[in-house]
Symmetry: none
Subunit: 200 residues, 4 copies
DNA sequence: AATGAATGAGTCTTCATTCAT
DNA sequence: GATGAATGAAGACTCATTCAT
């Protein structure tokens, strides 16, 4: 509603996320991003110290968005089964709603990176790791509660959790935003699968 | 046929897959690969027309390996549930057994590639797509059979199949070849999850 | 005239000289300087039209400081030998006392500079050249007087003068301001060397 | 006499030294160098891993050349005074004969360098330091011998040596290769100054 | 006076690819 | 078959400078 629609920083973040999601992080140059924004490379470097920091900012935003959507369901009083189902649905909805941001995360999951990292980047990375740990812990607790109640199979959670999250990440790979798609149908089916995957 | 333990081609393929898996396809130069082989860049270009062809060869090999491991279970007489379980186990075993090759595939799933592609590469790519389609069809048929028999939930298979495969791909992201790990335990648990995800 | 301890201009000059001396003129950005001052880049550009002008101001200050220290001894009535010794001592003392400023001068002795120069900068440069010529002439006259009196060897002064000044500049390269160093000892020894270098 | 006048490596070294000497190390880009050679930037990077390594190679060559010229006089049986005079003359001759290479050394004497250094570069640097230490030790021993014999003043050699070398380096700053200049005259005068600077 | 955003030209470096030997 | 030299295009990053506020 203000005169400037969005802060420069946010615009860059959006443009970068979109480009990275479309062509891949490594295949997208800072020049590419600045070109799509009709801005100079310098502008990007004024706001982000390096390509790595830009990527981290996107990843952090993605994780934060997911946490914001899923968190409320974790803190509800539902039974483990229902809670997991709701969390899963929220996760899938997040994936689809801000597709570009979350696609970048997946690409960075390998995260090896021989490149030199800025000090800022290292800080961002540890913040991200903390958020991700928090996030995984929500699923861990939900699963543990379900196991204790006999709703879920006894299982090695260090295997279960990442695999469960893979199901919920799946739309990242194939979802194409068209007009007619019904997001909640997809979310529902994937949540069914997720719950089924761990239930007795 | 030759006296050598392994053909030059296979050695290159192995070295490339290992390097690509470790550092990422885009972060690994042809020079890097040749260096790990104590060979020259030229040698690689003798056997593969371009970096793209090299990648495709790795991907094709990966798909073929998976097909070889999973196929026999598809062609068995087991009930859909058991068949899916066996196929899933075989898939996970493949992932872990030739980790490097399969990791490359994941990275190339985006596959956009703005770069110019060789004629050879285009051919390889369509062969790969054909193999992958065959592979997915095995799962499709197994699932359809299970749905018909009422063992599996009615569901949108175009959502189910890629999501199911995501579970089975999961170890690619976190498996680290250490001494003591029990591959079959992991395969069993993931197969359980896969079957659970689609069952009533 | 103002209440401030030091004018903004002088603060910038000090910070710049220090940074230039430490990291080298070309390796120090205007940003680096402003950062060490906890000020903005713009502030520097308010007081100095360009990086070149800033450098020139430092150089001019350095030359002026040296002239101020050495001049009085030139205008004394001492014998050429004694006069040269005193001038040399004063020069070395200057070098060590305002190390940073004089280090910048050395770096700029090449002074080629392909870059475009401001009008201001051109003016500053000719003022500097004039001061430097004055300075060298003091040594020239002292040496000529000594030669005439038979205290100094007959020699090509266009070779002698710059070489003599090199001895006196030497501390710039290796002097490190520590606690216990005795500046006057160093100055005395170098002055001995300078006089010895030209004497019969 | 062979068909190729000079190795690619040596050509690059020469072109780089010339350009660095003329415009300064920081003001000369790798592009500049390759342009003067009618070659591609890539060629330079094929032979030298980084700009830093290229500079080091030049410096090392410079030090080696000087050592080769001065060494023989150090190992002669002359009296300290005569020996120092001969060494000084040889040093000056070296400076003037391969002016470009030695000019680069002077610029690098500050040597701070915030830039990241290659492993190769670090190795080169320590080799250079070793050579330079050897070189300074030749002067140190010659001076100590002269002091013991009462030909040279008692003095702080850690001050004397670098200052003495500054005199001998001086031509680097002002020598311009013209037709008629008499190198040996300059060398003789500077050697006189050097010996005078340390003698009783 | 001072600030912070923005620019654009330039710099070092990398790398897939080609080619003569 | 294999090698090492060479190329050219691109990419990440820097920085002096300008300008609106």
């Amino acid at each position: 509603m203000s005169v400037q629609t969005k802060s420069a920083r946010a615009s860059i973040l959006d443009a970068a996320a979109t480009a990275f999601a479309e062509y891949g992080v490594d295949q997208t140059s800072i020049d590419d991003i600045s070109r799509t924004m009709n801005a100079s490379k310098g502008k990007i470097y004024h706001h982000f110290g390096s390509k790595g920091e830009l990527i981290c900012a996107i990843v952090k935003h993605s994780v934060q968005l997911t946490l914001d959507r899923v968190g409320p369901y974790f803190y509800s009083d539902a039974t483990p089964s229902k809670k997991l189902h709701e969390m899963a649905q929220a996760h899938v909805t997040a994936m689809i709603s801000e597709l570009a941001y979350h696609r970048v995360v997946i690409e960075e999951m390998r995260g090896s990176k021989t490149d030199k990292v800025t000090v800022n980047e290292r800080m961002l990375r540890s913040e991200i790791t903390a958020l991700q740990t928090d996030y995984e812990n929500m699923f861990r607790k939900a699963l543990e509660a379900g196991i204790k109640l006999g709703q879920f199979r006894k299982q090695d959670l260090s295997v279960t959790i990442p695999s469960l999250l893979m199901i919920l990440h799946a739309p990242i790979y194939w979802y194409e935003p068209r007009g007619g798609e019904n997001i909640s149908l997809i979310a529902a089916q994937l949540a069914d699968m997720a719950v089924g995957a761990v239930s007795l």
